[in-house]
């Protein structure tokens, strides 16, 4: 089955990919994808926490709204879109 990966949809519910491990670090967290062997930096503790709890929110936008001041939301959405693109998070 070919998976649809083209579009990131902030109104959809997402979750951390089960093959991803997060390691807390002073700058936020390191994320490692055991499938693609890719490593990436989650560059704030808030982003790390949000990614970890993503599936408990009805949508990515709701998760962002719940913890990020309005002015910073676009940056967080960009970060999450990029994590979706590299399969660190995926639609539920």
């Amino acid at each position: 089955m070919t998976e649809f990966t083209g579009g990131f949809d902030a109104s959809a519910r997402y979750r951390l990919d089960p093959q991803v491990a997060l390691r807390p670090e002073p700058f936020g967290a390191l994320a490692y994808h055991y499938g693609s062997r890719r490593l990436t930096f989650l560059r704030s503790a808030r982003l790390a926490e949000m990614v970890r709890d993503l599936e408990h929110h009805d949508s990515v936008q709701a998760a962002v709204n719940a913890s990020v001041p309005e002015v910073q939301r676009p940056a967080y959405l960009r970060a999450l879109a990029s994590l979706a693109d590299s399969r660190f998070i995926r639609a539920c």
Binding site: A21, F27, T40, Q72, S82
Partner: protein, 387 residues
């Protein structure tokens, strides 16, 4: 390992940005850990950075090695690069690989290919979280064997054939870039493509036996410029971030572009000694031992050497150079083993500043020591099973 510094913002990882500074100040555990599990090797490559050959009777036992893996698991080290020596000549090698994977620590191991039989390749193809990296240093037997020894090219190619036949998937072909093979980069790329493999290029260091061969093996300045442009055009070629000194030529190469020694990387040697990076096996860069009380975690977090390496470094003689932010002064190991001051230019500084110093300081390089430079013979049982 592909590391993306960009996407998981907010922010970017430009030099001097918060992330780069935080990486320089060290992480709670290494990102990239190299573990050489034996000094034994059936080859005697003239650039071997660990001067490997015969086993050391003090090498970690199986249970000690398992205890190291337990620690890596507790520290959430996601994967470990296992090398040597030739790691697969340890009779417990695959048991340790299985143990690591079972503890959630992925394994990438480097091998000269001599023990990768068809049967072994099939078993590896069935393993999750195990990556295999076959070393060659020439795109033909003559170039390769001049560095790695007679017959070693054919052995490596046979291992690649076995992995491809077994459907292992994208194994890695690892090449140390030398004056003799810089002209073969396209051939290496074609070879990797033919196998569906990933090409990995790393920098020659004057470490171990490389101290004696570096002067005639390291790329010329013109070759460095060619290599830089070749790599810029091919961001998918793996480099272990080892060519960051070339970033002084212009646009930065992909990767972290900083010396990670003791900050984000380190080395555990076969007897459990912990060094700042794989290229500085010298008492001056020994931080401690996994056999010390507190184990590896204590060495990583509290050793005097590592804490010092995480302090802001002085640009020294490079302070007035406009490229310092790009190249960070280059590689500590390359400077150390060529006798250059650590707070000055890399011996392969693309501005030629290192060459000037090398000329002035001839004969001052520290000895890497004799190491373990007598190759072991593979047992006949092993030889038989590879036929």
């Amino acid at each position: 390992m592909p590391v993306s510094t960009g996407p998981a913002g907010p922010g970017t990882a430009e030099p001097g940005s918060g992330l780069t500074d935080q990486l320089k100040a060290g992480l709670d555990a290494p990102i990239c850990l190299t573990w050489e599990i034996t000094y034994g090797c059936n080859l005697a490559c003239i650039h071997c950075l660990s001067s490997s050959g015969r086993r050391d009777r003090r090498e970690l036992t199986t249970s000690e090695a398992q205890a190291v893996i337990d620690e890596l698991h507790d520290l959430q080290v996601f994967y470990v690069n296992i090398g040597g020596g030739e790691p697969t000549i340890r009779s417990d090698f695959y048991d340790l690989v299985d143990y690591a994977v079972g503890r959630g620590v992925g394994v990438k191991f480097s091998t000269n290919g001599s023990t990768i039989t068809g049967e072994r390749a099939r078993r590896l193809a069935g393993a999750d979280y195990v990556d295999v990296q076959i070393s060659i240093d020439g795109a033909d037997a003559a170039t390769n064997d001049a560095v790695r020894g007679e017959g070693s090219y054919a052995v490596a190619r046979r291992a690649m054939d076995h992995l491809a036949d077994a459907g292992f998937g994208p194994f890695k072909i690892s090449v140390v870039v030398t004056r003799q093979n810089t002209g073969q980069l396209d051939a290496f790329e074609a070879l990797a493509a033919a196998y569906g493999a990933q090409l990995r290029l790393t920098r020659l260091r004057p470490s171990g036996r490389g101290a004696d061969s570096w002067a005639r093996l390291h790329p010329t300045q013109a070759q460095q410029v060619d290599l830089y442009h070749w790599l810029l055009d091919r961001p998918d070629v793996l480099t272990g971030d080892s060519f960051f000194h070339l970033s002084a030529l212009g646009e930065a190469l992909p990767g972290l572009n900083l010396c990670g020694a003791g900050r984000v990387v380190c080395l555990i040697d076969p007897i459990g000694d912990v060094y700042a990076c794989p290229f500085v096996l010298h008492p001056e860069f020994r931080a401690g031992s996994v056999r010390d009380p507190g184990g590896f975690a204590r060495v990583w977090r509290q050793s005097e050497l590592f804490l010092e390496l995480r302090q802001p470094a002085s640009a020294g003689a490079c302070a007035s150079c406009g490229s310092y932010d790009a190249c960070q002064g280059g590689c500590m190991a390359a400077k150390f083993f060529t006798g250059l001051p650590l707070d000055g230019p890399d011996p392969e500084c693309v501005k030629g500043l290192g060459e000037v110093l090398l000329g002035q300081r001839a004969g001052t390089a520290p000895s890497p020591g004799p190491g373990h430079s007598v190759p072991v013979r593979l047992r006949s049982r092993l030889r038989d099973s590879t036929r």
